[in-house]
């Protein structure tokens, strides 16, 4: 007698809400899925890293003149709304002038990259790839 094994059923409908929310707001994808603790920790870590980077007079990239600038700009864009708000408000330095500003630049770029990882994690939770 043949036995049937249960197969994972992909959720129907638009599946990228958590991914987009997670990119726009750090931890937003986890909030959307009801993972409040994880979302708050992600918001505190990524948001804290971004604002500490600004406090260190870190540069917020607006254009790319070489490949390294382009990579840093992609990292900054990972911050979602934080990046857009900082651009509109004119936060961040235009150039790196003190040592701590170089740390700040790295903090802002890495915050964006971590936010992308967090958004992908929220997407994995949403589609059932991760428990």
């Amino acid at each position: 007698m043949a036995t049937t094994t249960p197969k994972a059923v992909a959720p129907a409908g638009f599946q990228y809400g958590a991914l987009i929310a997670g990119w726009l707001i750090p931890g937003g994808g986890h909030f959307l899925l009801g993972k409040w603790g994880r979302g708050l920790l992600l918001l505190a870590s990524i948001g804290g890293m971004f604002f500490l980077g600004l406090a260190m007079q870190g540069k917020v990239y607006t254009s790319a003149h070489d490949i390294l600038d382009l990579l840093a700009l992609v990292g900054d864009l990972g911050n979602g709304l934080l990046f857009l708000v900082s651009r509109l408000a004119g936060w961040g330095a235009d150039s790196v002038q003190v040592t701590s500003a170089d740390y700040g630049r790295a903090f802002i770029v890495v915050a964006g990259l971590l936010n992308i990882i967090a958004a992908v994690d929220a997407h994995s939770l949403a589609i059932g790839r991760k428990k």
């Binding site: 920790l41 870590s45 890293m49 740390y103 903090f107 967090a118 994690d121 991760k130």
Partner: protein, 59 residues
């Protein structure tokens, strides 16, 4: 404005990055804490070891 020392910046970087790695790379809360702590130790520890290595090489 905030002007931390290099070591303070390393510790802050390690802390924030380890929290995100712990949450995103593991599923079980206990495993998240263990993995986050391990990442923090590796970040901070490797910075100390590399700093001493550079100090000794430069002498």
């Amino acid at each position: 404005m905030f002007h931390p020392s290099h070591f303070t910046a390393v510790l802050l970087f390690a802390l924030f990055t380890s929290v995100v790695f712990g949450i995103t790379m593991r599923s079980d809360p206990k495993q998240m804490v263990r993995y986050g702590a391990w990442c923090f130790l590796l970040f901070a520890g490797s910075a100390v070891v590399l700093s001493w290595a550079m100090f000794l090489i430069a002498r």
